[in-house]
Symmetry: C2
Subunit: 395 residues, 2 copies
């Protein structure tokens, strides 16, 4: 009950909180094996390195780190991050600037704050990441799903939707998409950047999984084809260093970035300096690349194991075979209901995310998302066995 | 130039960025003595303690700290903070909950997100903190200034404005107000909580300076008189531990806090665990109170020195004599223009914040805000001398 006479803002109409964050509550149950969430493996989190780096940076530059920082970022980190982005990604840092953020959720928040009025159309892949759908809903966006296939969003459907809805933004996750695990084909990337310039909308390229590639080669980002400022790139160190540190960044055309910076003055003033300084040390000491290489084999092994377990699932089960990332997307035969079955899965001590939560318009109850990174091989074997038996019974 | 075809959101109409953050750009000038800003003294920032605490918590609980955390906060910190708030502040944690935030700017953002629709009336003290005015403007609030006197906001003017404007919120800084340095009188606090319950609006009690008291006794918070949930309390460790760590908190009625939590899922997902864990250790190890006691004498000495320097200012200068906090408010004789004089002050290597920026409707060019915490006694003597000579010349 809200205190008498008070009313909440309209932006909360119909927003009830993240389904995944609600699901988390069940996961504390003893014996639970969770394929919900998108957590990195605990083994992949560099706690002793971070302990040393935190200690070092606070002794070396503690006064600056503990004092108010610039909204534009902790200067040494802005420098090392810019170098990293121009070396690794080839981003043009004349047209664009870089803004460190408090995780990539905050990139999304700042970009939506900069651009969206209530009712503005935003195109999204279907399915797409439910966390950012909630962020979009809080800005009262009109979400328009665009059909995807195994190569990511379909260009014909995208252009059709652009012509019909005149969107302000198109939100896309190009690498090992959340939730589908699919990667946007190389050949579709430049056309998306061109379409944005032609029709005058902004692409929000959300790319937190890019470095978790287990097979194949890195693809050029959509942003790398952007010569006009119509693509904003959202990066994150959550999946390759630590999500708990909350360090992400936006790369965007300078006037867009300036609006994000002004918006950020009103959300958290600046991203904590200590967290930026720790990531800065990963970059400066050359720790990032070896760390990523050290975590990839176990992730790949887990993914392969989960895929292998899926082979034994009932006839009619189909699933993606990602080249990286954290998720496998499963489509069960029509009639199967992963949403309804969720409670029974929790009873059987195994959890997933029902696929319906990833669709702007719901439905698709025969789909589900599985995460493999946050379980041990033994848990994957055992948990997938539980799921398989449950699914067999229910068909 | 914004890329072709794109348009920014209406919420940015007329919002140009924080005047203080703009002023900061001038402060890098060699020899500059700055009484602008509201930075703690560098000497007061506990860098070696934080280095040790960061190292300890990452070794002791590093996997949990580096993993995704709960939006509701890092559990040990929620526990120690709740105990601290109920011991030190007497807050009723049955009616209310506590939400750790990424600095107190983010408290403001989350509460406005929870409540404000564009055009909603919000009452503010006049003058008030310009940073949060910007945050209010980004939510397209209709700001209604309420007259204050030496005891803080006037109750008759407040009730008049409530009856006339039916505000959703009243934003107030009760202790050593920013910018005025004034403290809301004890006798005005309970009536404000009662008025909020009677008329059905929410008081946002922003209280980051409370523990920086140099004389007199702590006053009860407005929140301590709230029995109905009509007061939300915004606290911060920025002024007593470190602003760069960005750790603040909201204490609010549980349904209000739930909306803030859902909003926070869409802004930064959660406040970084490491930063919460460091503050947690300050509380658990009993380091906070001795640390506060250790920084107060130097702050008091600086304030007294600045007040003494102000005595020599031209006849007709009046100024507040705060019991704590970081700021002294100066009113020069009518006709004096602190806004216009700012550039000449910067030329003379001394900076302040023109008072006009703290008024929702501008004007008041004869006023200015001085910060004493971030300068040495020598800088205060020298800088106040420069200001005095400049002011004398210009009168």
């Amino acid at each position: 009950m809200i205190p008498e006479g008070l009313t909440f803002a309209n932006r909360f109409d119909g927003v009830t909180g993240s389904a995944i964050r609600e699901i988390f509550k069940y996961l504390a149950k003893p014996g639970m094996i969770s394929f919900a969430g998108g957590n990195p493996s605990l083994a992949a989190l560099p706690d002793t390195i971070c302990a040393e780096l935190a200690h070092d940076v606070l002794l070396a530059d503690g006064k600056r780190i503990l004092q108010y920082g610039a909204t534009e970022g902790y200067p040494p980190f802005v420098e090392s991050l810019s170098r990293y982005l121009s070396d690794q990604y080839g981003f043009d840092l004349e047209l664009n600037g870089v803004l460190p953020t408090t995780g990539s959720t905050s990139c999304m928040d700042l970009l939506l704050k900069a651009f969206l009025n209530p009712g503005d159309a935003v195109l999204v892949e279907s399915p797409t990441f439910l966390g950012n759908m909630q962020t979009l809903n809080l800005y009262q966006a009109r979400l328009v799903p665009v059909e995807s296939d195994e190569d990511g969003v379909r260009l014909d459907k995208l252009e059709e939707a652009v012509q019909k809805y005149h969107p302000k933004l198109f939100y896309v996750i190009p690498s090992f998409q959340n939730p589908s695990g699919r990667t946007l084909a190389a050949g579709r990337r430049k056309p998306i950047a061109q379409m944005a310039a032609k029709y005058g909308f902004l692409v929000l390229e959300d790319d937190p999984y890019r470095d978790l590639r287990y097979t194949g080669e890195h693809l050029p980002t959509i942003k790398s084809f952007d010569t006009t400022g119509h693509v904003a790139y959202m990066g994150s160190f959550s999946k390759i260093i630590s999500p708990g540190l909350r360090v992400g960044y936006v790369v965007a055309q300078k006037d867009i970035l300036r609006k994000c910076t002004i918006g950020k003055q009103g959300t958290d003033l600046h991203t904590p300096n200590l967290n930026q300084a720790i990531v800065d040390q990963f970059l400066r000491r050359g720790l990032l690349e070896p760390h990523i290489q050290s975590i990839l084999p176990a992730y790949r092994e887990k993914m392969d194991l989960m895929l292998q377990e899926l082979e034994a699932f009932p006839r009619g089960t189909s699933f993606t075979r990602p080249e990286g990332g954290l998720f496998i997307w499963v489509e069960m035969p029509e009639g199967f209901n992963a949403t309804r079955l969720f409670d029974r899965a929790v009873e059987a001590n195994v959890a997933y995310v029902p696929g319906t939560h990833f669709y702007p318009c719901g439905g698709h109850h025969h789909t589900l998302r599985l995460n493999f990174s946050n379980s041990t091989p033994e848990q994957i074997r055992e948990g997938m066995g539980r799921l398989r038996r449950l699914f067999e019974e229910s068909l």
